[in-house]
Point group: C2
Chain length 434, copies 2
């Protein structure tokens, strides 16, 4: 092999960033791999309308991905179109044509990654997906190589930049959710339909991928408890500040003796926790290993160039694998043999919780709620109320001592039957070191 | 190959941690590599006096490293004895016997790493050294794999846990250097002869290794400007706090158009910089890529188990390389072809500086110093003096606008001739985002 020849399928944000890096950084890439990395073809349905860099003059421009996948001179296909159906076809066809594949596709890899890895193994071709979760943070290679010797006990991450931008703005400026969301949409940080981001679905896909790598079992996406940030209000930031905490959409995976606990939900973090200082559109991941203890990784979670770095790094990785001529490929999941996924029962872990209520004002509310918590054997830590400005919509907060998710859910269900609650209590866990 | 057989040379802190992980975590390690990882032999001159874990009953115990290196059943030799002369012999002999080698030896790899990598290439055997710098932080694999697609512009790290512990304690408790050093020695955090740590030599070796990986040129250790922390006093923390900064021993590498600038020195960091929040014995590295922009890595820099994780991760890496049967090995320096090292001239980069003076009190001091700075075309940012408690030892501070190292050195040399200075000015750069 005299050069590693790459075909890029998809010329959106990530595709353009990848192309720019492959062209501009070609000298260093050749010094790293030992042979040049050449872009042979780029594919986009609207390739004729795209303005490509001047250095791309010699690159084939095609509109049908089959022309990339069937090109005998291409060694690595980068799937950068997103979505699931066509992307899956691109990856499967590329593998069956003997290409290595790299992909930035979180949704597809979260749902079908293990099947695609089987296809890659059968074809004896590398498959890599560093760009599929936490774009600019090289967490895949950290888990696969850097701390592969450790056994991961827990992982907590901020994996959705849009939510983190919204929550950071709400915190800084005391603004409400809808106000900041509208601004984020105007700035292009949030989609017109913001559901994938603000309802936690994007973060859930990323957590599914990272947990599969960290714990070596195939995580079913739908088994992850997910709550978005729509119900978090400026009032909650005011209460959190009183408790010296802030609020972030946190992805958490914890391995217990009985199985794996997975959640994506707004969470109170102590202000001095390293994760609490992750602001704006940055992502971060905190990993707790049985031996190496705490490590922490921080960087840009998205953007054409940071994600492009992940794609190009995977192209180098795939190139090294191809050059090795090995049959026995490195697994994109770090583990070559995955074990059976087991969900931890809801009574596995205890943590403190923050419960925020909105009620019609009347006597005896605290007494009712305290009695319900007592009946569920949940200890009260504090009851807090900021200066009251509106007697008809009276938010107040109870923080409780460590309890299991099952206990909290049962208590909240009982509370929700109280007719003076204007809405069900907002429940957020409070992060403690685990 | 039915199992990957490992020989550990050296049973000190790192050796014991490595052994513990290899024994306890063997199930996951086999799932990751695809075949079991077995410890076949451990070597220490005092192996008979060591109490090894029960699970180590079947492992050969030898006192001569040649018995490990010459054992035909061993595939990977881990050199964990430290020092340079015997360690070099161990590594060279192991490579010539066809073993893969992993090492935790920063001093040796900083000075002779490129030669040993040549020996490894000639023998077509993997050589890996994740544990040689920033123990528990997988920065080698991050640079070699995770962000290999990027081009690094700059890197700043806290790489010596002993210095960071001392500086953090000085900051928290307003204590003096010698006081905290004595405590650190008592606690076993600092050596009886603390020079390697507090004079910055340990950090310098680590920076040489990391800069070689990041920039792809062989960095001569002695070319790195190094200043230790002995002169940093409680007074400096008081002034730094006034400026909303703190002080850390910072390793910095910056690539400019004319070459590489490298330094290890106490540096003022803005309190809200992510590096300023690295406390106690933790290490951290901040990387600035041309494309991926900022990423940040944090974890334990030392300790038997965190460093053991790095060694074991390298053993897996070496195992994958051996299983691939490839001739064309992955370089421990990320680059397969290193380029010529060029030192940046001292006028390459400008940064603000903090100058702290101790003087005999008299009239006209500020006028003298201001005139010298003016003559060297250095702008004054601020002149500060804390409430005076001792008129004979009068510390005060001048912060100056961005200047080159060359300009500052020339001005300070002129200043040092003033007869009322009780000691040469203490010069510390102030970190700005670069």
């Amino acid at each position: 092999m005299e050069s590693l020849n790459v075909g890029l399928v998809g010329m959106g944000n990530v595709g353009s960033g990848t192309l720019q890096i492959l062209l501009e950084n070609s000298e260093q890439l050749a010094q790293k791999l030992g042979i040049p990395v050449k872009v042979r073809a780029v594919c986009s349905r609207s390739i004729q309308q795209k303005s490509l860099p001047e250095a791309a003059a010699d690159i084939l421009r095609v509109t049908d991905w089959r022309d990339v996948v069937n090109d005998p001179d291409i060694h690595v296909v980068a799937e950068l179109i997103g979505g699931t159906d066509v992307a899956r076809q691109v990856i499967e066809s590329a593998l069956s044509q003997g290409k290595a594949v790299v992909t930035a596709n979180k949704e597809l890899m979260a749902r079908d990654g293990l099947r695609l890895w089987q296809a890659a193994s059968a074809a004896s071709r590398p498959l890599a997906m560093e760009a599929s979760a936490a774009g600019g943070i090289p967490i895949h290679s950290v888990l696969r190589e850097g701390i592969a010797g450790d056994r991961i006990d827990a992982m907590a991450g901020i994996l959705n930049g849009t939510c983190n931008f919204i929550l950071t703005e709400m915190e800084k400026a005391g603004r409400g959710f809808h106000d900041v969301l509208a601004e984020a949409q105007q700035l292009g940080y949030a989609e017109a339909d913001p559901s994938a981001d603000v309802d936690g679905l994007d973060a859930r896909s990323k957590l599914a991928i990272l947990a599969t790598i960290a714990f070596g079992c195939g995580v079913p996406v739908d088994d992850i408890l997910v709550e978005g940030i729509r119900r978090v209000s400026d009032v909650d930031f005011a209460y959190a500040a009183q408790l010296r905490h802030t609020i972030r959409l946190l992805c958490v995976a914890r391995m217990g003796t009985e199985g794996l606990s997975l959640s994506v939900r707004p969470t109170l973090l102590p202000k001095d926790a390293i994760l609490a200082n992750v602001s704006g559109s940055y992502n971060a991941i905190w990993v707790k290993g049985a031996y190496g203890q705490d490590t922490f990784y921080y960087g840009r979670g998205a953007g054409p160039l940071p994600t492009g770095v992940a794609v190009v790094s995977d192209i180098l990785h795939a190139g090294r694998e191809l050059l090795s001529g090995r049959e026995n490929r490195v697994s994109p999941y770090s583990f070559k043999q995955l074990t059976q996924y087991r969900a931890a029962p809801p009574e596995s872990f205890k943590q403190p919780y923050y419960l925020r209520f909105r009620v019609e004002n009347r006597f005896g509310i605290i007494a009712d709620l305290a009695a319900i918590l007592r009946d569920h054997q949940i200890g009260i830590d504090a009851v807090g109320q900021l200066p009251i400005t509106n007697w008809r919509d009276l938010p107040f907060v109870i923080t409780v001592e460590p309890a299991t998710e099952g206990e909290i859910r049962a208590a909240v269900e009982t509370m929700s039957r109280l007719d003076y609650l204007l809405e069900p209590p907002l429940v957020m866990p409070m992060l403690v070191r685990f």
